[in-house]
Every structure is written in C-alpha cells, then in structure tokens.
C-alpha cells in the first residue's frame, strides 16, 4: 500500500494494555490470536474476558495467518489519510475461526473475490510495530 500523494501517513492504531501483546508481536512480524483456555476458542478483538463464558484465563497463541476473504470493498473515493484509491478493505476469516478487518494487498483490487485464500503480510508503522495486511496465497 503506497502513501497518498500528500505524503500523509495512514492512521495508526493505538495500543491498549489489553492488546499490547498483539502489537508487540507485530514488531517481529508475528500474528498472535487470543484464546480462552476454558472454552478452548479463539477471541477477536482482544478482550480482558472471554465474550462467551466471561472467563479470564486467556492466552496468546501464534496464528498461521492464513484464511479466506469473507467480504470486501474497493474504495474508489478515498477520504482517509495515507491511503490512495483504489484500495481494498476486507473481512478475513482466519482458519482458526476469527474474523478481522484488514487490507488486501499484492494484487490488483479487481482480482479480489469472496473466498479467495490469503496469508498475512506486514506494513511497517512509524513506531516499529507492523500492521497486518493480507495478500493472495
């Protein structure tokens, strides 16, 4: 993803105490997913309690970072700093069973389709963190 002509940077995500392990791992380009030990199920977005059982015994596990496109849109009239249209935003169903919003990069937007297999890739943020992006397998 290239910066917009104005050279503005993309809006960067804040870090909360809850999500700090997620963002720290992105410094090594590792994708972590939170799991509830009681339920044995993955959680996204990161929380302090499991949204199913309210359990607090949660842990971070490495994700293979593979999944498929659940849905997407290609933005043709961008109004967001740091992103030059056209660019694609998608909801990705990761194979372990969570859904996350991201960009699909590495192919022309018109080649993206629902069900397309994708894998995680990374875009550098200004503070050493990396933002998860997905590209075709």
């Amino acid at each position: 993803m290239s910066p917009s002509p104005e050279g503005q940077r993309r809006i960067e995500p804040p870090v909360t105490t809850t999500s700090e392990p997620f963002w720290d791992a992105t410094r090594q380009r590792r994708l972590l997913v939170q799991w509830c030990i009681d339920c044995g199920r993955p959680i996204f977005f990161p929380r302090d309690v499991c949204p199913r059982c309210l359990g607090t015994d949660l842990e971070w596990r490495s994700s293979p970072g593979t999944g498929s496109v659940y849905t997407f849109t290609v933005e043709h009239n961008a109004q967001t700093a740091g992103l030059a249209a056209p660019y694609a935003i998608a909801l990705i169903d990761l194979d372990e069973g969570i859904r996350m919003m991201t960009n699909v990069v590495g192919c022309p937007p018109e080649e993206i389709y629902v069900g397309m297999r994708v894998t995680v890739t990374w875009e550098a943020l200004s503070d050493g963190r990396n933002l998860p992006q997905f590209e075709p397998v």
Binding site: P13, T71, T73, E75, N77, Y87, R99, M101, T102
Partner: protein
Amino acid sequence: MAGLRGTSALVGVADDASPTGELELTGRALEAAMIAEALADAGLSLSDVDGVTHAMSSMGLAEYLGIHPRFTDSTLTGGSSYEIHVEHAAAAIHAGLCEVVIGVYASTPRSDRTRGRGGQGGRPMTGPNPAAEWETPFGLRMPMGPYAMAATRHMHQYGTTSEQLAHIAVSTRAWATKNPKARYRTPITVDEVLASPLQSSPLHLLDCCLVTDGAGAFVMTSADRARDLAKPPVYVLGAGTCHDHAMISQMPDLTVTPGAISGANAFSMAGIKPHEVDVLMAYDSFTITALLHLEDLGFCAKGEGGPFVEDGKTGPGGSLPMNTNGGGLSYTHPGMYGMFLLVEAVRQLRGECGPRQVPGADIAVAHGSGMVLSCMSTIVLGTGATV
C-alpha cells in the same frame, strides 16, 4: 403477545427539509420549531408534556424548553434512536410513568458546512473504542464501507446484482417526485444509477443516501387521551428492538441484520403478517440497507430481495409502497433519519400525503436502522380501524 398493542398513539408530527438541502434554523431553535408544530398538530401545548426523548440530550432539551419531565430517554443507537424512543415512550405511557411524550431531531450538516458554522455538538464518544484499533487504520469509509461489504457478501451468496440494487434507488426517486420538500425530484433510471461514480464498491453514488439538513418531531400519548385530540390517533400496535454488534467486523452474518428479530417481535406484538402492511418505511441509508430490511422483515425470503424489487413493486402504484416520502436516498438524510420514517408513516395513516398517498392505508411499519446495520428497531402503527 399483546404487550403494548394499542395502548398509546402518535398524535402529533412535524418534519422539515428542503429541495436546497438546507434549512434556515439550526440546533435547539430548529428543534423547538418542530416541537411547536407537532404539539399544534396534536392540539396540545408544552404544558401538557411530561416526557422527553432526545438521542443526544433529553436533559439539555428540557432545560431549553423550561419543562421538568418525569420520563426521560437519551437512548442513542444512531438512525434507529427514534423508533426506540417511541417503543420506550409507549412502554412508559402504558406503565403510567407519564402521559404526553415528545421526541425531536434536528441536524443541519449541509448548511453547517456551507455557512461555516459548527454543529451543536453530539454526545462525545464514551468508553473504549476498539474500532480505533481494529478498523480505522484500514481506511474503511464510514458509513458507506460497511454497507458495501454487506452488499458484496449478499451478491456472493445470492447472486444479487447492482441492477437490482439500483431498482430500489429508482423506485424511491419515483416517490420523491411526489414530495415537494424532497432534495431530488427528477426521475432516474437503473442505467443512471449504474453510471454514477463508484464509491465503495459495489455501491455507486446513487446507491447512497443524501447529506442534507432536516428535522422532525412527534408527540405521543395514551390511547384514551389520544381519542380527544385534534387528529385521528395513529396507534402503536407493536414494537421490537435488537442489536448484535457495534463494529461491522463483529457482525455475525453480513447478510442478516438484527431486524430479523426486532421485526418478528414487533409484528408478533401487533398480531400482523408482512402481507398486511400497507406502507413500509424502511431505513434506506443505502440501497442494500433497504433490501436487507425487505428480507429480514419477511416481505420476501432471505436472498430473494434482488428479484423482489426488480418489478418496481416498492414504487408508486406497486404492491408494497416503500419509503413514500422519497427516503434517505432522495428526500432527506441529516444523519439519523429514523424520525422521518415515523412522521411519514403517521401522515400516510391519516391520509395526509396528497399525491403520494397510499389509498386506504391502515397499517404502516417504521423500521429504523442504526450505526452500521447494528441496531434495528421496528414500530408497527395502525389507524383506529386496527385496534
């Protein structure tokens, strides 16, 4: 489930918008004008009011008006807020907490911009905002992007086409030609919708609602008191609400809205089936929004919304008149449009709609949709013949 059926009524309404997209008044002054008009419509005065609803600041409104209500509700769910206010007011009136409730909305985003003035200011976001972390960095345009994602998924699962979505815009514009206050009154074609600039794919510019000034108000009271007022009462027959996410990335299934639950509950309370609805006011922030409502409220099966709208049945003269004021797509859309659904439904049931009047309308549905397909609230309204 009888619930609230027929226990309260909408007895006064007002709304305002303009073909220019701009109104002279703004803020509390515009709200007060709407309240005055709705109270006059009901034959009531401010001193009768003992309940206040407002999606931002019921306390601030009451202070401005110098009243001291014993029922207050500042529920904010985006565009469905006003349907929820009616639901809550109906419950409060039925429970004896209050007797006369006003609700009001005014927003002037277009003239605020052209005249360089600030808005009144909304309620600031409180509490954690996970979207800043998990959605905003990816550049999803709001609010269009989430609806575009729903459309993409619906097209994938059911073969829905951009042409079918365009039919909703065309039928809604046909209604707008009959509303002198509508922003856009020139008929459009499917080809024109498809030729309008692509925004967040697959949505074109003419799949999207307007950004205009607009305002409205309602007055509600008990069924007993309603019978003695200026206009024929429009009874609340059923009400239902449901929400299942705040961020689009947390919506369980982008082809099924919580309207499947709010609608079923409201219809059950009212004791009606979809085929009995004479006028459907279904929030059309985007064409896909209205299509999902048609399916989730049971006017057609899930996935069949595309073929359902193709023959123009939601337009003038069709079997399911939908968004007869011209909708958010062509009449007005100041941001939280749910108020206008209620006002038009009431006027249709009173027979006040002139060239766009649906003959003999006895049952109307106002189906509000808030945030990003997040919170649905369904109000079933009926004439005296239905209670």
